[in-house]
């Protein structure tokens, strides 16, 4: 069985550009969450989507947006990139997005902003 898959694995963008990151959850999982991990820190929650609706949002500016598609895959968009957006972006999936559900992470997308 395929785990959580993310694309692209690595990318380099210039300040001010826009980026779209993609995530496919584990088959049967309906909840997708996005996390940002800056070097030396733990992952920080950005968004959670369940059944195509936003269920939770972390403390990130409006430059960050996301959506979930009918097949439960998801995209994270970041506009007007800043140097500080350089990080590992992790997607996680779970069955129902409820407390206690085991959450599985993908390998992440490494974004470098120059």
């Amino acid at each position: 069985d395929a785990g959580v898959t993310q694309s692209p694995t690595h990318l380099i963008k210039t300040r001010g550009q826009q980026v779209t990151l993609r995530c496919s959850p584990i088959s049967g999982h309906k909840s997708v969450s996005w996390y940002q991990q800056v070097l030396g820190q733990g992952p920080q929650f950005i968004f959670q989507y369940y059944e195509k609706e936003e269920r939770g949002r972390g403390n990130f500016p409006d430059r960050f947006s996301a959506r979930q598609f009918p097949n439960y895959s998801s995209e994270l968009n970041v506009n007007a990139l800043l140097l500080g957006d350089s990080a590992l972006y992790l997607c996680a999936s779970s069955l129902r997005g409820e407390v206690g559900n085991t959450i599985y992470f993908g390998e992440g997308s490494w974004l470098t902003v120059v």
Binding site: S31, S33, P43, R55, G58, G100, T102, G108
Partner: protein, 113 residues
């Protein structure tokens, strides 16, 4: 304001001995605590969890202890093996309707031969 704190950035333990990783939290509303393990260039892998109504959960070589009065949890690995060398994240969830996880900064565990 860090709600989940791992105060030891790194820990070295001899192979075969016990590894003890510690974690403190500040939010008494957390319902669920988790430990994740992360190798370089990989996403975090779920290791073990514990509900706030329990004080111990064991899974093979891994045991998590929860002390709610002290707002402290610990992960014990016995015996430690070379493959255990990784970054370990303590995390907590459950104060809302979503499964948002709050992570600590991580502890890098080195298992020495």
């Amino acid at each position: 304001d860090q709600q989940v704190k791992q105060n030891s950035p790194s820990l070295s333990v001899q192979e075969g001995r016990i590894s003890i990783l510690n974690c403190d939290y500040t939010n008494s509303m957390f319902d669920y605590f988790l430990w994740y393990k992360k190798y370089p260039a990989e996403g975090p892998t779920f290791l073990i969890s514990i509900s706030s109504i329990k004080d111990k959960n064991e899974d093979g070589r891994f045991t998590v202890f929860l002390n709610k009065s002290a707002k402290h949890l610990s992960l014990h690995i016995v015996p430690s093996q070379p493959g255990d060398s990784a970054v370990y994240f303590c995390a907590a969830s459950g104060f809302g309707r979503d499964d948002k996880i709050i992570f600590g900064k991580g502890t890098r565990l080195h298992i020495l031969p």
